[in-house]
């Protein structure tokens, strides 16, 4: 049985529907992420799981029990807030002890567990400090410790890494994964950062305008987005208008406007004659000097329009003969060189027959 079961939950505000008939089930021990742009309903959903908001219809079940009548303080669910919300008048130890005190634990047990919690977030000697004496990353760790110390059935994390700089963020991501693995607590994580979602989660629910667009493992979300929104929101992708000319279970033959025939990976439910886009990730696109490569399937000439050097990789924007642009990513394997191709170079781009995906309109 799923630990958390969200069944057909809808939440309407006066002029819009924030969460629209959403059903999600989260397994015990899972690191589950709600991903979407701001206003997609992910935070509203999180607030309803925590109990700060109630669904207009639908059910939220935890261990099979409907939580709707239970106030936040009675739910075995704790939240790590975006702003950390550490109590400024309490020491780190008192902050972490707070949920234990509220639960009426014995003084000796509180002391032991606070010590363990501080240990687990690698801040063993910080118990007597006040929040204002901590750095952003330390505050973050205290917030995690406070959320986890009373071993909630479910820990909700509301964009907890949003306020940290990039470097620290990456560190905290790794710590968060380890913490979750160690303690085995089920996490429901909310973020708008797709890279973070991909890096942390066991499964992701991509949300948009109050509905769930796709629920899947990170690699499947990335490689096989169900629709154009998911494809566009997660990672970079090039899209070109296309029509299906042949639909087989293993592959699709697409007519890409003015480019000709392209083979793409097969997809259930797609019929001959469907219109949509052919989408391809930049790292799936090979780029070579035009003369180098023998003519293959999915091989098209173009010229380098622009490039973007970010250190480890360079993204080339190639203008194809039909006027469409396609992005190709190349690792910079030659030291000291920022690029392999110059703007204006005549190049060929190609991709594996199963790299392109077709997305219906």
């Amino acid at each position: 049985m799923a630990l958390l079961e969200i069944r057909n939950v809808t939440r309407r505000f006066s002029n819009y529907t924030a969460v629209d008939n959403v059903s999600i089930s989260v397994k015990a021990g899972e690191f589950f992420t709600l991903l979407g742009p701001s206003g997609c309903g992910k935070t509203t959903l999180l607030r309803m799981i925590a109990g700060f908001d109630l669904p207009d219809s639908g059910q939220i079940l935890l261990d099979g029990n409907d939580m709707v009548g239970t106030p936040p303080e009675k739910r075995p669910v704790h939240t790590v807030f975006q702003t950390y919300a550490l109590f400024p008048h309490m020491t780190v130890a008192d902050n972490i002890a707070f949920p234990l005190k509220m639960a009426g634990k014995a003084t000796q047990e509180i002391k032991t567990r606070v010590g363990e919690a501080l240990e687990s977030v690698r801040l063993p000697s910080f118990g007597n400090r006040f929040p204002h004496e901590l750095s952003g990353g330390q505050k973050q760790r205290v917030a995690f410790a406070r959320g986890l110390v009373n071993r909630p059935r479910l820990l909700l994390l509301d964009e907890p890494l949003g306020a940290l700089d990039a470097k620290l963020r990456e560190e905290m991501q790794i710590e968060l994964i380890n913490l979750q693995k160690e303690l085995g607590v089920t996490f429901v994580f909310v973020t708008h950062a797709q890279d973070e979602a991909l890096a942390l989660s066991h499964r992701i629910a991509v949300m948009n305008h109050g509905i769930v667009e796709q629920i899947d493992e990170p690699s499947r979300i990335y490689s096989f987005p169900r629709n154009r929104f998911v494809a566009d929101f997660i990672g970079k992708i090039s899209m070109m208008s296309a029509q299906v000319v042949e639909a087989a279970p293993s592959h699709l033959k697409l007519d890409v406007k003015e480019l000709g025939e392209v083979t793409a990976v097969g997809k259930a439910g797609v019929k001959t004659g469907d219109t949509g886009v052919m989408a391809i990730r930049p790292e799936q696109v090979r780029i070579s000097h035009l003369s180098d490569e023998p003519r293959l399937k999915n091989h098209f000439p173009g010229k380098v329009h622009d490039f973007l050097y970010v250190g480890d990789v360079t993204t080339y924007i190639v203008e194809l003969s039909n006027g469409a642009y396609i992005e190709a990513l190349l690792p910079n394997s030659a030291p000291g060189r920022a690029k392999f191709f110059e703007v204006g170079d005549q190049v060929g781009v190609s991709w594996r027959h199963d790299a392109g995906i077709f997305l219906n309109d």
Binding site: A50, F52, P71, P72, E73, K74, V77, H78, T79, F81, T83, A85, L86, F87, P88, H89, M90, T91, D94, F98, P99, K101, M102, A103, F130, R146, G147, N150
Partner: protein, 307 residues
């Protein structure tokens, strides 16, 4: 008072003196100097018809005393009556502060948690009584608490049911307390509101999320965080009440005088300026030590929390 700030340019230093100078000068002339004059006055003899006796004996001096003396201090400590009036004043100030706090806290919380566009209007309503004259408002209480008022009739009617003899509300310590609370309530509401309004609502959400019920959220989060507001509000009520003479004079009976009345009498009634100065100095010392204690305690409490 003014400390040099490291790395400050000359212009900035001049600017700081231009800005900080006038108020500093004002305090020197109208607070420090009078206090010194008062201390000097307390060591003199009272003049025959008020004022002070000369320090050196004039040619035709036949009665009265002159020179420097600590007689006024001896007089203050020789009679327990004055200590009693001090104690009574402190009790009155404490009771007023406590009642103001209990009344102001929910009001300040209500204002701080209502919608932003209503807040300024509500604050305006709190300070609106200041628009009419202070004495008129106190005299109004004379009517409200007077023997012919609806309130008096009602209370005595209720007491009558239980066979209790009628009471008079006016000219009693109760009337003084009511007047004191009424006058000083806004001074408690405003600092509390200013403090509560700044509270981060996510802290209460966090507390609730971590298992705190409504009472625990108040006692563990709101209350300790509001202590600075509680302390400044209490100081703004306690200190003026200690020195207040108008309210006891109008609403109190003959036995209800406080330090303020006593001091006023020494200067305007009995015309014993040195003794009036001694009383003032004692009051100032008492207030300063209480303010010092409060500051220390507030620092201690806000740093330690109450958990």
């Amino acid at each position: 008072m003014i400390k040099g700030v490291k790395g400050e340019t000359k212009d900035a230093r001049i600017a700081r003196f231009l800005v900080g100078g006038p108020p500093l000068l004002f305090l020197l002339v109208f607070f420090v100097a009078p206090s010194l004059i008062m201390i000097l006055t307390s060591f003199r003899f009272p003049g025959e018809f008020g004022g002070l006796a000369p320090i050196t004996a004039p040619e035709d001096m036949t009665i009265g005393e002159y020179g420097i003396t600590s007689e006024a201090y001896q007089f203050f400590f020789s009679d327990v009556l004055y200590a009693k009036i001090f104690l009574k004043s402190f009790l009155m100030a404490s009771a007023t502060t406590l009642i103001c706090l209990v009344m102001a806290y929910p009001l300040a919380m209500l204002i701080a948690r209502s919608e932003k566009r209503f807040r300024n209007l509500m604050v305006l309503l709190v300070v609106l009584p200041f628009a009419s004259n202070f004495l008129i408002r106190i005299y109004a209480w004379m009517i409200i608490l007077g023997p012919e008022s609806g309130l008096s009739h009602f209370i005595n009617a209720v007491l009558g049911i239980f066979g209790i003899a009628p009471i008079t509300l006016l000219f009693s310590p109760f009337a003084v307390l009511v007047g004191m609370v009424y006058v000083h309530l806004p001074f408690m509401v405003l600092p509390l509101y200013t403090n509560l309004e700044k509270h981060d609502p996510s802290l209460l959400n966090a507390a609730q999320d971590l298992g705190a019920n409504a009472w625990q959220r108040f006692w563990r989060v709101t209350w300790p965080l509001s202590l600075p507001g509680v302390f400044s509000g209490s100081a703004l009520v306690f200190i003026p009440v200690l020195g207040m003479f108008a309210v006891p004079e109008i609403l109190g009976g003959t036995g209800d005088i406080l330090i303020g009345n006593l001091i006023k009498d020494q200067f305007l009634g009995t015309r014993d300026w040195p003794f009036g100065s001694v009383l003032s100095i004692m009051l100032t010392l008492a207030v300063l030590s209480i303010a010092g204690l409060a500051t220390w305690f507030s620092r201690f409490a806000t740093r330690q929390g109450t958990v």
